[in-house]
């Protein structure tokens, strides 16, 4: 047995010292007290791996790691016996002596929970009995005793971000399982999660993330390539964490505190164990530790395009010279080779320090500060007020004082900048909403046996976080529809002369004060004839309706419309696009659809940059002023007498570009006295919502203004035709018309669609 290289020996010594200290201070009665130890043990493992430590040392660390799941008291007492043995064993190793006997009071050594260390000669340790594992699911108390709300929230927020990194990374790994950078990112994410969980004393999460970290660590160090099974395991692990975080969040918000939830924790942990102890892993020791000199004897097959260590590679592709140095794919067990391997790595002594250093990256600082959103909203409100107060001062101070005028101009410049900056603080890239789609498309594709490629463009496009929240569900609907219905199965595509792999493009960009999100696919496209037939069958349009292609396509947004012949478990329950349209309209956006049968479909969503501010047309009726969102305004004009017509003595119509549209007197509708009675002396505003249009008659246009939208408060909710209120330039409150119900008044039943 060769002695350890000096740096490794030092590292091991220092780790053991720290473990000893931790043990001395370990409060065995506190749940999750083993937090720091859970950190130190893997470090020890890594150092051993980099230093070709004897098998039993490695196994001893693995065994100790498996105790982390035990109650704190048991853990502490076992580790109390373990630690002196380790000290002795390491001394023996340093002197190339014989390792001491394993303490009789401890359960036998097991390598089950360890990531198979590449150079550890693990054939010796495999086959030992693993401690029995728990049932497939486990009821978990989400909030541990003594949790602090602030910290817990922070933990949840951070976990959500890390989960996104993980999901994103894993999807990359699916196509490029050896991508070093991605492996490192995902590993780091799990590592950070584990650390955070330890801080929060979330023992369960800590254990789970630890296992997943081990799996990724193995992949990262090249002792295992992540196959589909492993990726599924990682994803389901991430799902459990997500479940946990979601539940924690809802309990933090005061719903059902103290509830336990069943998590498929043991199942995932077992799965990871199974993967790690599968033959591929057992044979893994062929891979030398990073930075070692080439091993001449252990390359039974030609290696492909890998630079520094000639890792024996059964997989044809290995990406990049950089990644290659860290990774080597698994070797299917070849007895001769592994026998050799057991001895060979031991002979090669790495000059470089073990991988411990790069494996423990400090949390990356992004130079950002987390701010409570209510504070941010408060700031935005105040800035809005400042802008208004400032304009009031300007109005009041219209004296001839040149000095004052100059100062006021300067003040205006500052407030404008301040407002812009405050607005920008609410802006976040749409990336978050897009990232979910990768997983979604993958899952649909796997489930339906389709081949789908998702291309994402413009994910850095920024918009208000509340808009992103609102758009998230509609996007899921649309992407799922595209993957489920639009993209054909590979064989069908091939028969139609298209590539087997379907493509869905998700694109976001800015255009004229709006954010536009497009979802396009190269699938089967929408068939106007079929849509029409279905709409007639469902009674959405009469059989003799005259519709152009655009109108026909718009029918897919009608409530209760679904062309899917088979209701799949993924989409097509008849609530789909109408919900999409509803949600998008709620944030004052709109959806359009274009399609070419056989070639594909494209949905375009227009959204406002922010929900907090809208551009409004200020109109007056009978001395009162109202704000109409300009997005809903098609045009406005003073009607000529000949453009007006009356039907049935009451219903008024206006001719707009050759089309007669119903006209509503806003004053009459809102019960305002003193409104202009003569339409030719008023102004007609043409409103539109989707395909519907309606004219409203107002007295005059006051101007165009950007206004901060204020909620009207619960007293008015659902009882008034207004979407909110705004503070106008003179400090008075102006009401914002809710245009969609106004336009659709009496057209469609406004029953709430079950969503």
């Amino acid at each position: 047995m060769p002695p350890p290289p000096e740096p490794a020996s030092d590292a091991v010594r220092s780790l053991l010292r720290r473990i000893g200290l931790e043990l001395a201070f370990l409060d065995a009665t506190a749940p999750g007290a083993a937090g720091t130890l859970a950190e130190l043990l893997p470090s020890l493992d890594e150092t051993f791996a980099g230093a070709s430590a004897p098998a039993d040392l490695v196994a001893a660390v693995a065994t100790a790691r498996s105790w982390l799941a035990l109650p704190s008291a048991d853990f502490a007492s076992r580790l109390g016996q373990w630690h002196p043995w380790m000290e002795e064993a390491v001394t023996a190793w340093e002197r190339s002596g014989v390792l001491p006997d394993w303490p009789a009071g401890l359960p036998p050594l097991s390598a089950q929970t360890s990531p198979p260390p590449p150079a550890a000669g693990s054939p010796v340790t495999t086959g030992r009995t693993a401690p029995a594992r728990d049932l497939p699911t486990q009821d978990v108390t989400v909030l541990p005793a003594g949790w602090e709300p602030e910290l817990m929230r922070l933990f949840c927020a951070e976990a959500a971000e890390l989960l996104q990194d993980i999901e994103q990374g894993v999807l990359v790994l699916e196509t490029a399982p050896t991508d070093a950078e991605t492996l490192a990112t995902v590993f780091r994410a799990f590592h950070t999660l584990k650390g955070n969980a330890a801080v929060m004393k979330l023992v369960v999460l800590q254990r789970l993330t630890h296992e997943l970290e081990s799996l990724l660590d193995a992949a990262r160090r090249g002792s295992r390539v992540l196959d589909r099974d492993a990726i599924d395991a990682v994803l389901s692990g991430a799902d459990i964490v997500a479940q946990y975080v979601a539940e924690a969040n809802s309990q933090l918000d005061g719903r059902e505190t103290g509830r336990t939830i069943p998590l498929a924790l043991p199942a995932v942990i077992d799965r990871v164990h199974a993967i790690l102890s599968s033959p591929a892993a057992a044979a893994a020791p062929l891979a030398p530790p990073p930075g070692t000199v080439p091993l001449p004897a252990t390359t039974p097959r030609a290696s492909v395009a890998v630079l520094p260590p000639p890792a024996s590679s059964p997989t044809p592709v290995n990406t990049g010279p950089d990644s290659g140095s860290r990774l080597s794919p698994p070797e299917p067990s070849a007895p001769a080779a592994s026998a050799q391997a057991a001895a060979a790595p031991a002979a090669s002594v790495p000059a470089a320090p073990g991988p411990a250093a790069p494996a423990r990256p400090a949390a990356v600082s992004t130079g950002s500060v987390r701010v409570d959103t209510t504070r941010l909203d408060g700031l935005l409100d105040l800035v809005g007020e400042l802008v208004i107060a400032q304009s009031m001062v300007v109005q009041a101070a219209s004296s001839g004082d040149e000095h004052l005028t100059r100062s006021l101009a300067q003040l205006r410049g500052i407030t404008t900048d301040l407002q812009r900056t405050a607005m920008a603080m609410r802006m976040v890239p749409i990336r978050g909403a897009f990232q979910k789609m990768g997983r979604l498309v993958r899952d649909v594709a796997v489930q339906l046996g389709k081949e789908i490629r998702l291309i994402v463009e413009g994910e850095e496009t920024e918009l208000d976080r509340t808009v992103i929240e609102e758009i998230s569900d509609p996007l899921v609907h649309m992407v799922r529809n595209a993957a489920d219905h639009a993209i054909e199965p590979p064989d069908v595509r091939e028969a139609a002369g298209k590539p087997r792999t379907g493509t869905i493009i998700l694109r976001a960009f800015h255009q004229g004060g709006f954010v536009i999100v497009q979802v396009s696919d190269d699938g089967r496209g929408l068939d106007p004839a079929r849509i029409r037939a279905k709409a007639v069958e469902r009674g959405i349009v009469p059989a003799d309706a005259v519709l152009d292609t655009r109108d026909t396509l718009e029918l897919i947004f009608a409530p209760g419309f679904s062309t899917a012949e088979q209701i799949s478990d993924l989409s097509g329950r008849g609530v789909g696009l109408d919900v999409v349209q509803r949600n998008v309209e709620r944030i004052r956006g709109k959806v359009e659809v274009e399609s070419v049968p056989g070639a594909g479909t494209m949905f375009t969503i227009f959204m406002p940059l922010t929900l907090a501010i809208i551009e409004g047309l200020v109109v007056s009726v009978g001395g009162q002023r109202f704000v109409i969102p300009t997005l809903a305004v098609r045009e406005s004009f003073r009607p000529k007498a000949e453009a007006l017509a009356t039907v049935h003595g009451r219903g008024e119509l206006v001719a707009v570009r050759g089309q007669r549209l119903p006209m509503m007197r806003l004053g009459q509708h809102l019960g305002i006295e003193g409104a202009q009675a003569d339409p030719t002396r008023g102004i007609v505003v043409v409103l539109e919502a989707g395909n519907d249009r309606r004219c409203i008659l107002v007295d005059e246009l006051v101007g165009k203004q950007e206004v901060v939208i204020k909620p009207l408060g619960e007293m008015f909710t659902g009882r008034t035709p207004f979407a909110g209120a705004a503070i106008l330039g003179d400090g008075r409150v102006g009401l914002i018309l809710d245009t969609i119900p106004l336009v659709r008044l009496g057209r469609r039943p406004h029953t709430e669609t079950a969503a």
Binding site: M715, F716, V733
Partner: protein, 175 residues
């Protein structure tokens, strides 16, 4: 004010008044009192923007330092004689419980604020039973004063009567 919200105890109204400090104000010549802890501030009458489709006692909304706050005319709600606004007319801004938790601002127009008085338990009598002749839903008690009595009311109950659940929107305008 004919409909009765399901949230309001129908017969004898809210819990009886507790001793403590009360703000008294005048509505159509009569004195009323509310617990001073519910009052946030008193402001001069300012332009009120009327809101369509609301019952007549809801005067509209005002801008209170950037917040949009509903203003209710208690004289209309209580069926009192409503005179024209004058220079003592002002707005009492209170806060009441919001349905979603927390508090929400709630302002009432009054014909003038009188004073803050401290009432002991002995000063407070339970609301009388008028046999249905007077709407006592919002009355928590009567306070004896040097001259006459003041009626103690529960703004929470008054505000709850305007809750969103009172009745469906009058037209198909609700989303």
């Amino acid at each position: 004010m004919t409909a009765i919200a399901p949230t309001i105890p129908p017969a004898h109204g809210p819990a009886s008044a507790q001793p403590g400090k009360y703000l008294t104000f005048v509505l159509s010549g009569q004195v009323y009192g509310v617990p001073v802890l519910a009052v946030r501030e008193i402001i001069r009458l300012c332009p009120i923007t009327p809101v369509a489709n609301m019952p007549p006692h809801v005067r509209g909304v005002i801008n209170l330092r950037g917040r949009v706050i509903p203003v209710v005319d208690l004289r209309v709600q209580f069926g009192l004689v409503v005179g024209p606004d004058h220079d003592r007319t002002c707005i009492v801004v209170a806060q009441v419980a919001a349905t979603a938790g927390g508090v929400r601002p709630y302002a009432v127009v009054v014909d003038g604020v009188e004073e803050v008085v401290t009432l002991a338990a002995a000063d407070i009598a339970p609301p009388p039973d008028f046999g249905g002749a007077v709407d006592t839903r919002f009355i928590t008690g009567l306070a004896r004063r040097d001259v006459g009595v003041s009626t103690l009311i529960d703004l929470e109950a008054v505000a709850a009567a305007d809750g969103p659940s009172e009745k469906p929107a009058p037209s198909s305008l609700s989303p």
